[in-house]
Symmetry: C2
Subunit: 303 residues, 2 copies
């Protein structure tokens, strides 16, 4: 796929066969297998399942490795497009409860591409300056520029999650956010940005195991916050809020994907494939030369 890797034809054929076999472990394309639909209730999701994927962990890891080259190549095409006047970008929005694995996704999936082409933002409690503005203010400022893959670790979606569950705003206020979010995302999509929204859903039992691990390992203490237990006590309320968010903000231009997250390897595979799928859909070539190639060759030769 990439012009940067030279292989002889025999190798390419063998590699392609292996790749094809691995890709066939998807019984259905990831983008449709994982897309939220009205019959999908996250409160009843089997978080240990692997929707659409018929392979095991080892095959998943091999497919990620096999797709890494294409991902890297397509990211560079996107970057090149942005550098030469193109207006397209990709925005990956990750949403998930504590320990759902957003950080690991960024590390292992986004870590596959050139850091020069990534704009990553983690949204926490608004700073004093941010709190003075409308909640979309800091989001707009962080939108990926043309050519970039933007990654949002949490986002404006918290406005119908933590804000609702913790009662940070009255209901009549947060109820308006669903429509505002849809209008905002439609505007972003219309401006040329492909939106990939992913809700990582971890089970309450698996969350307990992951929090317990943080308490067992001194190199993980820094990731633990006693407040995590207060949030955990409202696990069911959060899932209610997730379900409403999915129902009310999954749109044609910005659909939600639901990724069961108890198997970290599956969550990583799923996000890799969804991002790859979004990049493939852009169908990007390499920008043509905006100069006379032969003339430049001659000038370079003389210089």
């Amino acid at each position: 796929m990439s012009g940067r890797h030279s292989k002889n034809d025999l190798e390419r054929t063998a590699d392609d066969d292996v790749l094809h076999d691995l890709e066939d472990r998807w019984e259905e394309p990831s983008a449709s297998a994982l897309r939220w639909h009205k019959d999908l209730d996250v409160r009843e999701l089997d978080c240990d399942s692997t929707p659409g994927w018929d392979g095991d962990r080892e095959e998943a890891e091999r497919l990620i490795a096999a797709h890494a080259t294409e991902l890297d190549d397509l990211q560079e095409r996107l970057f090149a497009d942005g550098r030469t006047g193109g207006g397209r970008a990709v925005l990956l929005m990750l949403q998930g409860l504590d320990t759902a694995g957003k950080g690991g996704i960024v590390r292992h999936v986004i870590g596959l591409v050139d850091p020069q082409g990534v704009q990553h933002h983690a949204f926490g409690v608004p700073t004093e300056e941010e709190a003075k503005h409308d909640y979309l203010w800091r989001i707009r400022r962080a939108l990926p520029k043309p050519g970039y893959i933007g990654v949002f670790d949490r986002s404006h979606n918290e406005q119908v999650l933590v804000v609702r569950v913790e009662g940070l705003e009255p209901e009549e206020t947060w109820q308006k956010h669903y429509d505002e979010i849809n209008a905002f995302e439609a505007e972003v999509a219309a401006a040329g940005t492909t939106i990939v929204k992913i809700a990582l859903i971890v089970s309450k039992d698996e969350q307990k195991a992951r929090l317990a691990e943080r308490l067992e390992r001194p190199d993980k203490y820094w990731k633990y916050n006693p407040g995590d237990l207060e949030t955990r006590a409202k696990f069911a309320d959060y899932l209610d809020a997730y379900q409403d968010m999915l129902e009310r903000t999954s749109t044609d231009v910005a659909p939600w994907h639901v990724v069961p997250a108890d198997k970290k390897w599956f969550a990583r595979l799923a996000v890799t494939e969804l991002v790859l799928s979004a990049l493939r859909a852009l169908d990007l070539g390499w920008p043509p030369a905006e100069f006379d190639v032969e003339e430049q060759k001659k000038l370079l030769e003389e210089n």
Copy 2:
């Protein structure tokens, strides 16, 4: 080195022996072998040399791979430190003429660590807004926050390079910048940021070959700009400016390192080792728990 990787003692010993042999290919630590000193004139540098390194390309690539785990581990410790109130950061400043390989360094070296812990900025021609301010304004805004590795692809150093060579300011103005840069960097270092300045020096012949490659390959056209030839025509002037920059802004708190860049593999090895060396010098442990671990375990068990 990393607490995250469990190996039995026998494996650890074997791995450590291999690592030790590879590290021994440095005849002198990279930080001293590559540090600019007053007898080093970049106009006479052998850009194909590998100062301090006695190994070959394959050994260099194996050492980078072997050090990747430690780099990743130390970056996470730095991040954890920043999250728990620490004030330290690392700032890698890359400077180099066209085709010197800054982009490849970011892709291959910075790509080894978690993108969540990296703040990357490429500084081009100032935007309209940037041009309204002092040249350090945009630099200050891009300084890495505590816990982060900042990467500057070009920086305020251009104020004594392109600004001087292209005559964008009168000499009496740019002559003042050397002292201003030193004062600024001393301030940044005093605030807790370790500065790693690297000048990648490519030879004029190698630059020609790399520009020619961009003109041969349609997937590289976007990286080529006819203006590159105008800059190339002033190659000697730029090297004069580099030499003065090295002489006048290499300080104890922000020394310059000169990396011959005709061998891409060596430049990548050199930068990996210099960043690793800066992180090691921070001597970071894991932050202690700021809560009662046993109490939290009990609360989690009940929840």
